[in-house]
Symmetry: C2
Subunit: 333 residues, 2 copies
């Protein structure tokens, strides 16, 4: 199993001569079964030895090559000498300086020879799924661990990542609708569904990363669906509250919250576009994220106060936006 980016790196490094390329992983502490691995030793940038027994060694052969025609002569020669392994052929090429190594540490790859290897590969892939920098607190400590479990099952189905996005969106819409019915029972169910949607929202990206099929389109659509479901949830909660408090102020709070939820995200995107870099992540960034927002609404639903929770989170969002603008104003040139 390997990240197709490794092949792209090999192709990009190809200089068009008859020098073959070998993808090696120099991040040795992340390699699972180092004993079984084929090691490579370097002198400077040039590979000088390859084999399971090579010691000392600087990197490990990933098993991915970009071979040029001379490999056939090298293999024939090695075979005549009684060793018909690929490593023996590569060794011949190394002697002739016809091998270039491309370091691909950081990209996922793993050898699978045994059932244990398979288990390890699954675990390693699932473990690497978090987005540490981007995830908020609730994502990190509650949603991700749960979504990973869901992902481990979803990845074996035929559901596409975009299909999962739509499914999670539908769950959020159902929650929004139930909020609109009012009454504690439906409010509680709605809160649970919204939190479930928040957890499931991580699965689309996780499945995409597991299948190495992330796409700009998937990210784009998923982000938009998030904003639409935020809108639906606000509308549902506000309508549910309006049934008991049929006043314009109820809707005013709904509009204020909706503006806050949408614009706190908008503010960050617009910053990235204008400045060509992301807003530096800080505690307020985490506090204003969707995972915490939906968790807050979930807690509000449990306490039978989803409207108050929403209004509070809406105000918080505007506070974060104001803080961004003011701190940007102070730091402008």
């Amino acid at each position: 199993v390997f990240d197709p980016q490794i092949l792209r790196r090999l192709m990009e490094a190809d200089d068009g001569t008859d020098t073959s390329l070998i993808a090696v992983d120099e991040e040795l502490d992340r390699i699972f079964d180092l004993d079984e691995a084929t090691k490579v030793r370097f002198e400077g940038e040039r590979p000088v030895a390859i084999g399971k027994e090579v010691s000392p060694f600087d990197a490990v052969d990933t098993g991915l090559f970009l071979c040029k025609p001379p490999i056939f002569d090298a293999l024939m020669e090695a075979r005549k000498e009684g060793d018909s392994s690929l490593s023996a052929g590569i060794r011949k090429l190394i002697e002739r300086g016809k091998i270039q190594a491309v370091k691909v540490g950081g990209h996922f790859w793993t050898d699978i020879d045994t059932p244990e290897d398979l288990e390890h590969a699954k675990g390693a892939l699932l473990k690497g799924l978090g987005k540490k920098e981007e995830d908020g607190f609730i994502s990190r400590y509650l949603n991700r661990p749960l979504s990973r479990k869901m992902t481990a099952r979803l990845v074996d189905t035929s559901l596409t990542p975009n299909g999962i996005s739509l499914l999670s969106f539908s769950v959020a819409l159902l929650g929004a609708f139930l909020f609109g019915i009012g009454g504690y029972f439906w409010t509680l169910v709605a809160g649970l569904l919204v939190q479930l949607a928040s957890i499931a929202d991580g699965c689309d990206g996780e499945v995409a990363r597991l299948k190495f099929s992330t796409s700009p389109y998937g990210g784009w659509m998923d982000t938009l669906l998030d904003r639409y479901s935020d809108g639906a949830i606000v509308a549902g909660i506000t309508y549910g509250h309006w049934l008991s408090f049929p006043e314009a102020s109820t809707w005013a709070w709904g509009v204020i919250s909706l503006l806050g939820f949408l614009l706190v995200s908008y503010t960050k995107k617009e910053f990235s576009l204008r400045y060509g870099r992301k807003l530096p992540p800080d505690i307020w960034d985490k506090v204003s994220k969707r995972d915490l927002r939906l968790f807050g609404i979930f807690i509000g639903a449990i306490l039978n106060r989803p409207f108050e929770a929403m209004a509070l989170l809406g105000l918080l969002s505007h506070g974060v936006i104001l803080r961004y603008l003011l701190s940007g104003y102070r730091k402008r040139q």
Copy 2:
């Protein structure tokens, strides 16, 4: 008067040797008083002649130089020979191959020697203010011509571009508030104020460009204020309508419109971030822009139907978003 970017270009082109640099404009058809200009002739990339009478010529001297110490010897020599003009010194350097020309066509610069030159410079700067690619139809044919007239006055005041953004935002907020009063008179005034704010919204950027003081912060804040004023206008119109139709459906239309107005912009920004390029501009892009939205609300106000105009524009916005998502889905890899 010149765009400071020209100096930056000169500094970037400097190779650290004692070769002086001269900024020349190769876009001859845009030069105002070609007779009075100092011309430059090239052989390949090398300037070979400079002076008012040089003919044929390939570019015009902008009057901006980055001079290195040898200019002093050259000027002394030229002076001994009876010509103490800068051009004469530069001519000496050209003879020695110690001049490099940097083409800065496209950046604004103009010579001001006479009152006529000053008038021309003002006119040329104001004329160049449009943002042809980004402007919607209403911007282009109605708002820009009017905002340019306002800008011509504003640029002589001490108002900063960010101050103008805040002022235009306040006018929009006042319009939103008046929509909330209801009744044809205030609705009409509100509509006029909203259209005025839409026109004034162009002035901040125009003044900034005239003063060569555009900034990422200014653009960021202005865009956010636009979204907030969209929110306020929707809330005002919806509240005004609610006074006559106190039903939840009134607010539902408000929420739907608000979502549409904010997300049609969000969709485009998110596309840029995900794909690293802008959504290709087309008719639907223009139709979903703020200038047309506010103009539609203005027309709605005149017809005493601002709520219906808003709801229609909201639906249109969602239609455009859906169209973006579907066409993105078809084109995905």
